[in-house]
Symmetry: C2
Subunit: 295 residues, 2 copies
């Protein structure tokens, strides 16, 4: 593999969400990260459960990798008691898996409107009720629930929490150590309230995760798999990263792209490209190459 034109410190905060390169098995992902100097990964429950959470935790620990987040819990908008209980049980299982992996963050996607339901405000209240039932279990396991606002185009079928302001309105009902929010460039790049809300999230210590993908058009059918590689779209990634930094966030920058074109390519090459794009489009070109000041 060609040597990369970046220094290890450039990737100090970089994390690769495994969905970006889902063609790689966990062992191959761990190998590729080692080769490329990547030290952090975000994981998804399904591949982790297939591999076994304990085995996955061991594999990643042995490879020197930190798990920055587990995706995803949530889907908390059901109205029937049985569905609601099932959702809460599933989220408790997700918290167990997060604890096993040693990640501090379980990403929550709120869920959409049940069939025939037209009451978004009530659905958001059901999410708040569910958070109240889950936040102690989260605290017990040392895991923080991270509410992820999804783009408004997913409001009906996937996530009734559409803006960072709404996510914070929910999170702030609970202790900051138990419930935070996800700042994802793909979901909030369009929102002129995002800068103020990122500052609000930072002041409250609520930024549990910072995720990145670019916005490209045309959207594919269903809209879900249309995220762009960093730099391919119109999102001011550097500007949003600077806002998150200015808000006091010092955690990982996790790149999470759902894109069949990336999945069709060699996973290790896509991972290398993604790290390069991160350096090129996300880092501050001045600050990134500077060594830390001497004591």
């Amino acid at each position: 593999m060609t040597p990369l034109p970046h220094t290890p410190s450039d990737l100090a905060r970089f994390s690769i969400n495994q969905q970006t390169v889902k063609q790689l098995t966990l062992p191959r992902l761990a190998d590729a990260c080692g080769t490329l100097g990547i030290t952090q990964v975000g994981l998804w429950r399904e591949p982790v459960r297939r591999y076994g959470p304990r085995a996955a935790a061991r594999l990643l620990r042995d490879a020197g990798l930190t798990v920055t987040s587990l995706c995803r819990g949530g889907f908390l908008t059901a109205t029937t008691p049985a569905e609601r209980r099932r959702a809460l049980d599933d989220n408790r299982a997700a918290l167990d898996e997060a604890a096993t992996l040693g990640t501090p963050t379980l990403v929550l996607v709120a869920g959409g409107l049940p069939d025939g339901d037209r009451d978004l405000a009530a659905a958001r209240e059901r999410v708040a009720d569910a958070l109240a039932e889950l936040c102690e279990a989260a605290a017990d396991r040392g895991v923080r629930l991270a509410i992820e606002p999804l783009h408004p185009m997913f409001a009906s079928d996937r996530c009734v929490v559409s803006t960072l302001a709404q996510a914070l309105d929910l999170a702030e009902r609970f202790p900051a150590g138990q419930v935070g929010v996800v700042v994802d460039t793909y979901h909030l790049w369009w929102d002129d309230q995002a800068p103020a809300q990122i500052a609000r999230a930072g002041r409250g210590g609520r930024i549990a995760a910072f995720q990145l993908a670019d916005w490209v058009t045309p959207l594919p059918e269903g809209a879900l798999l249309g995220r762009g590689q960093l730099g391919d779209g119109c999102v001011d990634l550097r500007g949003l990263r600077a806002l998150v930094d200015a808000a006091g966030y010092r955690g990982p920058a996790e790149v999470e792209i759902f894109n069949p074109d990336l999945w069709a390519r060699d996973g290790t090459r896509v991972l290398a490209e993604t790290a390069e794009r991160y350096v090129q489009h996300v880092l501050d070109p001045n600050a990134a190459r500077n060594p830390p000041p001497r004591a």
Copy 2:
């Protein structure tokens, strides 16, 4: 055709946007409206230009139809002087056409980000600059510019104005008689700020048009033609209509649906169905059937 289970007063505010039944030529649309007791239509520039604006105006006047709006001007985000001049000229032509048709409202879609541009705030400022150049021409012609916020999924390629709040921030820089906003259920149903912003728009006399379509999923590729027939989706149409009423708006409720399934059917039947759906899903079931109080 089966008699319709509604009274003429039920449709007093109903307007059919011609894109909903674009399979109908203007004369056939006028005929169908006459048969169904529909007295108002919203028009698009392309079919009007094909028919001829003067001929269209005469046809509709002779049929007793009022033109509630003309779609659309806008696309005002270009950066080069030549493109910018072309856009302004085109909007002046649209104002002429609106005046010829006798409609008080020209709907404006702001335009997206130019290729390679990542600065949404600057693009919105260019829209404001263009409004400043157009609003006198609008006033001269007795036409109001109506800024339509489009759903955030169109922010990059079609409309950098994504919320009613943003539209009002732009409109309020100009006299209310010259620049208003469009409240469209499809574009803002997801927004928890919409109720407060509808009230703000009403207080300022800024609601220039109220348009309706329902939200259905999955979105089709490109997202543009995925609007649902009234009642087929998850938008609280009645609730939004009540908010617009409470804000003091007394103008037309114009149904504008882009949907290939509707276009593939008999246009007159679709028109009849749309009027029925409006009565069923938009009107207040108590107030609608009550006769006005006697003096």
